[in-house]
Structure formats: structure tokens, C-alpha cells
């Protein structure tokens, strides 16, 4: 391994670490918007006593990340969609929660919610939360 390759690897690591410390607001907004644009019929959500459609937590202020993690976990466990964006969102929320990457979001570790909502209302809550962060940036 020569010096140029080493410097390349080091620089990549630095860039990746900077990326990992980013709140990734725009990526989350893009992925959430794409999932919202999917038709409602594509969501495998049949209303039953065991699997109600209003099943995702709509967080109270200060507990957004924890509820977003819990909600996306629930969606993946119940195979609500095969879209990979759901997995990417879940990963992003998990990382941000673990590392306190989003200063705008206070990282309460426990999900607290007053109400539960459908997939649409849950995704809209995610979208609104991150739009507010992006808009407040200088």
C-alpha cells in the first residue's frame, strides 16, 4: 500500500465520519416524501383487531426520534412495504438517536405519544419534523 492510497483511504474515512455526523435532513425528507407518494393500496394494512391500521405512534414533543425508530421498526416487522427506503429511514433514525446527531431534536430515549395514527399520518409527522429543522437552518 503506497502513500497515495493511504491518504485516499484516510480522506474517505474523514469524509464518511463527517457524513455520519450529519443530521441527514434532506435525505430523510426525500425518502419520506417518496414513501408518501406510494398509493395507499400498496401499504399492506388490513384493519383487524390484531393489526389495526392506526398503529404507529405520533410522538409528543421531545420524543420524536424514539417514536420514529419504534414506528419504522413496527412497519418493517409487519412487512408493510418492501421499499428499501423504509430500512434507510429506520437506520437514519437509529443512528441519530444513538449519537445525538440532530441538535434540533431532543433525544428522549423512550417513545411517548398521545395518539396512534395510520402510515400516512406517521410519515407526515416525520416529514413535518424534518422540514421544520431544514427551514430553521441558515
Amino acid at each position: 500500500m503506497n502513500a497515495s492510497m493511504l491518504s485516499y483511504i484516510l480522506l474517505s474515512c474523514v469524509l464518511l465520519s463527517v457524513q455520519a455526523h450529519n443530521c441527514q435532513v434532506r435525505e430523510i425528507i426525500r425518502n419520506t416524501k417518496s414513501l408518501l407518494n406510494k398509493t395507499e393500496e400498496s401499504w399492506s394494512c388490513r384493519e383487524t383487531a390484531a393489526t389495526p391500521c392506526s398503529c404507529l405512534p405520533i410522538p409528543e414533543p421531545g420524543h420524536e426520534l424514539a417514536c420514529f425508530v419504534e414506528g419504522t421498526n413496527h412497519m418493517m416487522e409487519h412487512n408493510m412495504t418492501t421499499d428499501n427506503r423504509l430500512f434507510l429511514l429506520n437506520q437514519s433514525f437509529q443512528i441519530q438517536l444513538d449519537r445525538n446527531l440532530c441538535e434540533s431534536l431532543t433525544s428522549g430515549k423512550e417513545c411517548k405519544y398521545k395518539t396512534k395514527g395510520t402510515v400516512k399520518t406517521f410519515l407526515e409527522k416525520i416529514l413535518k419534523t424534518y422540514q421544520e429543522i431544514h427551514k430553521s437552518r441558515v
Binding site: 425528507i29 421544520e132 427551514k135
Partner: protein
Amino acid sequence: VALRDVAMGMVGWGVECILFNEEYMTCTWGSGQTLTANYSLYYWYENRSPVAECKQYLWERGVRTGCRFEQSEIIQFQPFHVRVNASQDGRILEIPSNRMELQNLVKPEAPVNLTIRNMSSNQLQLTWSSPYPKAHCLEHVVKYKSNKDTSWMKQEVKGDIFSFPSVDYEKFYTFYVRSKINNYCGSTQLWSEWSVPVFWGSNTTSKGMAEEQLQWFWIHTVLIPIASCLLLLVLVVLLVRMERVWVIIMPRIPNPNKNFDDLFITHNGDFQEWVGVPKDVVESFKPNYSESICHVSELPYEPLQDSIHPPGVPGPQEHGPYKNSYVGA
């Protein structure tokens, strides 16, 4: 006007709120056709402030048709509710609105200071600025065409620079720009108004185009009609004077007189002789018998005496007022 009619009208319109450049907001529920009643607007944010009444109403023809909110009264990313009360003759009707997210109701101001620069290799660069304070929340559309195009071209632009790759120096271009809040700051379809246009093309091109248009105007409006009329006049005169041409257009009505000279002069009007009917055929049509004239008339009816027919039994003569008689050959 019944309060029920007011309610029906309100349900049809709803309350429409727009944040103009995030400087102020108007919520309107009517227009010039708003049914006359006394309207009051109350608003609140979910989980935040208590219910408050509008401080500055909008009026139209003596009727409240909307409410204006100043910047200090606007909170985005908090569900916003509005209730309009319509009162008439002591009765009050409450008309609630849907829950609103004000960040999705922002309409930015139109872009300003449109500037065109010549770049190298026939490329133009259009730049502008926006009165909206958060440039990273905007997306834009550029609308342009040249003087030789019939329809406008539209191009979406994320930043505030638009590059026009291949410009034709013989043409004269017009550019417009408008803006909208992008998906990273809201979910809205409210575009700003189009900006004031900016033009590009040489000054002589535009002057030449104006002169050329004036020339075409004189040709189409004056010269061509006059020339057409003169040509028509010449043709008419020629037609009248040249009998050969006139006869073709207005042929003489043929006179069959000559065909019948033989009938009237030679045969003295005897059609049969002129046609050539044989004399024995002519004789055969003449009758070889004579008939005397036969007069036929009806005489008035005179009923017969009772001794001949019993009463009640009609006789053969009693079926008409006249007695039939005829004299024949």
C-alpha cells in the same frame, strides 16, 4: 337571506388562508357575492394558545370577508384552526374549518433583479434574487421564448442561476421567473407571480423587428386592398369593352325563330303538313258520322195523390224534391 343559506354557501367555499412571503397572512371566506351576515373569526393553535379573535378584518361592501394576521401572530409547524361565526337576527351559526399547517400555505414574492450575462461559446446565464428570506427553501421555474418561437419553454431550476446553452444572435429572447417553497421546507403548490421580464437580443434586432412589423402592417392593410381593387376595376373595364370575352361570360340567349320559318311561311301554320303526316292519316281522324245534340235537365218534384199509395209507405218518387226526367237520344 336565511342563516342556513349562509352556512350552505360557507361550506361550499371554506376558509382559505395564504401566507404572503411569510410577512403576513390572510384568511378569507367570501368575495363580492358573500351573503350578508355578521361574520367573526376565531383562531387557535393546537396545544398552544387560547382561542383569540381576529384583530384586523378585511371588508368588502360593508361585509367582513376575511382576516389579516401579522407576522407575530403566525406560527408554522403548529396545527392551526379557524372558526367563523355568522350571526343574523340574534342567531349564531358556527362554521369550523379544517386543521391547517401554515408552512404549507406560503406563497413567496416574485423574483426580482433578473440579470442576463453573456458567457463564452454562445451561452447565456440568467440570475435573479428573491424577496423571500430563505433562499434554501425555494425552487424556481424559468419561462422563455424567442421572437421566432410560438410557445413558451419552461425549465425547473433548483438554485438561482439558469444557463441557456445555445443562443441565436439573430433572435430576441424574453425570460420570466417564478418561485415556490420546495419539499424541504413545506408541501405546497402555491407558486409566486411571474417576475418582471428580462430581454436579450441586440437593440438593432428589436428596432428592425418593429420597423419590419410596421412595413407588413402597411402592406397588409393598405397596399394589398388598393391593388386588388384596381385590378378588379381593370378587369371589369376590359370585360365590358372586349365583346369576345363578354360573350363567353354572358352568352346570348339562342333564338329558335329560324327553325320555325318553314312552318309559318311555307306551310301557313299547318303543323301537320309541316311535320309530314300523310294525308290519309289526317283524313282518318275526321269523324264519318253525325250526332245531334242531347239536352239533359232535371224537373222540379211534384208528389202524387194518396189514393195511389197508402200513407207511410214511400213511393218510388218520394226520395227527392225533384222529379227525375231526362230526354235522350
